[in-house]
């Protein structure tokens, strides 16, 4: 764990720390809505504050939150935008469940400015409790679902926490993974998430390398196709799929795919679609690469390569790929 405490104890820099020139945050997108006609309620705000609470009024919903980091040793102008997958927030890029630095730190260390998004409904973007806008119900991912869906091990082996024989996910810290899970409203917020990501692009104001994971891959592709001039390159890490309408607009595309793709019918189908997508891009003359890691001799990656034990190596390869597509 790379805590300042250790840095103080050691009298040096935090382990894993990346020197920064600065950082900051902003909100982008969303819309104002009005709630009217609900009764005023007497509620207790805190143990010592009673309040006649008026639930009506003006609210801002469906914004995205973005935190940006500028490395002290900037060696690239191209900014990287990191978009989380379903049920996660930007924290999935910050630290692994076993406390190693995440891809955010790796890309900063490689000299890239990085923007981390909490998209609509996730984390610091907040969420909308009004059922007229988001009917719900929200869902939250269980540890069992993460175990199986993320290809850590067979569903039947969750109780024993017995992973696949070749497994790079830090299984000992598995239960900590779900501390970073947040509720989501499946499908109901997709359009808002695409719109907010477009507002993030507008706010950044220059073309970016968009790195998206899992369900974020579908959101990223839709937003990229809606603002093609904002994208310099697209990195899809284990995308949950591809939008039906259109697949690319000429930017270079990298797909990164882990191991154990025969684990469930969903993954057998997705692996096939990754190959179809790559073939479509190639046929269209779009520069693209599909890294099926196991076929490159890198065995045992899960659905979460940014958390696996070789996460830093994979980030380094992606950083090199990004540097290459700019040449």
């Amino acid at each position: 764990m790379f805590l300042p405490e250790e840095a103080v104890t050691l009298g040096g820099l935090p382990a894993g720390g990346v020197p920064l020139a600065g950082f900051g945050s902003f909100y982008a997108g969303g819309r104002q809505v009005r709630i009217e006609g609900r009764p005023i309620a007497q509620i207790q705000f805190t143990p010592t504050v009673d309040f006649d609470w008026d639930p009506n009024g003006l609210f801002h919903i469906e914004q995205a939150y973005v935190q940006w980091f500028m490395p002290a040793d900037r060696r690239h102008d191209l900014p990287i935008v990191l978009l989380h997958g379903g049920g996660f927030t930007g924290t999935m890029w910050e630290a692994t469940p076993d406390g190693r630095p995440g891809w955010l730190q790796d890309f900063l260390g490689a000299g890239y400015p990085v923007y981390v998004v909490d998209n609509v409904e996730r984390g610091r973007a907040g969420w909308c409790p009004f059922t007229e806008f988001w009917p719900g119900p929200p869902i939250l991912r269980s540890a069992e679902e993460a175990w199986s869906l993320f290809r850590v091990g067979a569903a039947a082996d969750f109780a024993m926490r017995r992973p696949f024989a070749a497994q790079r996910f830090p299984t000992a810290a598995f239960d900590d993974l779900i501390r970073g899970s947040v509720p989501r409203f499946p499908r109901q917020t997709d359009d808002a998430a695409v719109a907010a990501l477009g507002a993030v692009f507008d706010r950044i104001g220059r073309s970016v390398a968009l790195v998206a994971h899992s369900q974020g891959g579908e959101i990223a592709l839709r937003a990229a196709l809606a603002s093609p001039e904002r994208i310099a390159a697209l990195v899809l890490v284990e995308s949950s799929g591809f939008p039906a309408a259109g697949t690319a607009a000429g930017w270079p595309v990298l797909q990164v795919v882990g191991d154990h793709l025969d684990a469930t019918p969903l993954w057998i189908d997705l692996a096939r679609r990754y190959r179809t997508f790559a073939a479509d891009l190639t046929r269209q003359g779009v520069r693209n690469d599909a890294w099926f890691l196991a076929e490159r001799g890198i065995i045992g990656n899960s659905h979460m390569p940014m958390m696996d034990d070789n996460s830093t190596d994979i980030a380094a390869e992606i950083a090199v790929w990004l540097a290459g597509v700019r040449s």
Copy 2:
């Protein structure tokens, strides 16, 4: 707005950027719960993924999220912990609604290591959608409520956005304030928030200066009284109140209070309680200061001094006070 884009354009550092030796994040506290006996549902995860979704299983709820920052020019060993108020997340310390750097940046610039908390139910800490644990309903703050409760202006003047004549809150950016608002479950999560903050203290592992705002003041005092050895100093910024049992454990206390305290009956009462609390501490021989800013000639601060136009000046004074109590 201090965006990397501007830094790139200017060829220099981001405006408002503070050089860092590093940063990172962690989760602390919370508990595991099991959901059982609910029916499996066919849901669409994404436009292209249908899924037999099992809502049962193991979940981790009621954790806190913490992001830490280590300034490159560290001049103090004492870490500062920033705890948000009700309905906000750690972002309230990061940037003002009009895009200036926040107290997080100010304290880093003063040479302090800083930990920013998203406590239980807020932001990246996630929230619990299971009504057996959090019955709800959650509430979300309206712009109107913020206008009046935060003493920006009279309730009747919200529609015109006409603030009090002396007003330091950046009123032109007022509507952006509510982009950073997130739902809360009043009272239902208080005990969990106190416990999670205690887990944050344990994880940091050394005594801290705890700076808490509004509803965070009550949570902070309860957590501090439960772990008195973890606290070096307590800064209560416009606390929403004080727990009935016990008021201090000997650490120095600073209260920071804005202007317009005659705006509503709630504030008239709270102003009286700030003075009573200060008198109690003094009677107990506890070193304490209560900065009623208007009485010190600083006119026009709202409930949100970390966002007002003199936010950096106030942070600087707090930093000096903190340096003084360590001597």
